[in-house]
Symmetry: C2
Amino acid sequence: MAEVINRKEQIIEVACILFREKGYAGASMRDIAGYIGIEPASLYSHYKSKEHILQTICFGMAEDFFEAQKAVDIQTLLPHQKLEKAIEAHIRVIVDNADASAVFFHDWRYLNEPSLSTFKALRKKYESIFAEILKEGIETGVFRNMDQAFTLQTIFSSVNWLYDWQKAAMLIKPEQLSKNFCHLLFSGIKKHF
Amino acid sequence: MAEVINRKEQIIEVACILFREKGYAGASMRDIAGYIGIEPASLYSHYKSKEHILQTICFGMAEDFFEAQKAVDIQTLLPHQKLEKAIEAHIRVIVDNADASAVFFHDWRYLNEPSLSTFKALRKKYESIFAEILKEGIETGVFRNMDQAFTLQTIFSSVNWLYDWQKAAMLIKPEQLSKNFCHLLFSGIKKHF
DNA sequence: CCTACCGATCGGTAGG
DNA sequence: CCTACCGATCGGTAGG
């Protein structure tokens, strides 16, 4: 375990682990404090509520995802190359933040308004990055015609599980994960003659 | 709302809705009782504990999934046809039981031992049905060589989200959902020249 | 299926 | 960051 340089960050790290393990409602402020080794009341000098901790995790992850896509967007690549880069960047964020990802994907629904609406809007905006690439690919004839909403959801739902079996002793590197996934997404599993 | 023929079943239905909405830890026995219109204590004459309700939901869904695969297994089809049938059957169970599916996929981890281990074993056994079809497809040259564990996880993770956007006004029929998904899985999104 | 109730635990505050 | 504590709510039981 690394030195405790910043207690605020340590609280977030521990909260990610415990929210992931027990869910947001199932993990208590006492659990978090106990794991760190301080009194429960002490948490409130760093975060004003339990939900504030959840907000920090969820919006912090959202920021990471957007940040990771910045490098992709600028490049002038073909749609399928662009999609591969975007997926690789997305996967890297998940794999590098497995615990936070689990919270991000499962526990965002415990946010209260107005955070909840803000979060949903951010997610939609993020998904639209990928939607645009798909659309461009179809228009330029690189991708076949398809139900774009369906494909978009399928991409995210399959890739967003990676935080889970990364844990299950799958020690494939992000680049390889991305390669495997894009091969599947681009060409499918059938042999083509 | 249908007539209340069986209170035991009604409790399960309501629990599915509330566990899905608030999570297992977040939905209380009082919530369930209030939704039905009885006193909280009355629930305990039907189920001996909150976890007993969760067990009923999780193992009931497991049974539905296995039942749905029975019709598939018997048939002597080619691997890709068999996989398509298996996926369609799987999707149908999810779409027909959207609330219970949400609980099945998210809240099983709140099961205590020994139910937890039993559940995990059942899931593994169920996944092996699909693993076998994949393996057979590769051996007979219908499917290309691939990381089977990776593909298996990707299939389940993408298909298991269907309960979620079925809700989001997507009114595609299960057969069409299955067709869309298998097209994607078999051939990918790239145009093949 | 209800009334009445239990001990445990929850998120959070006051004050230092 | 701690001690001391609050009212609210939790899963569950006794007894009818």
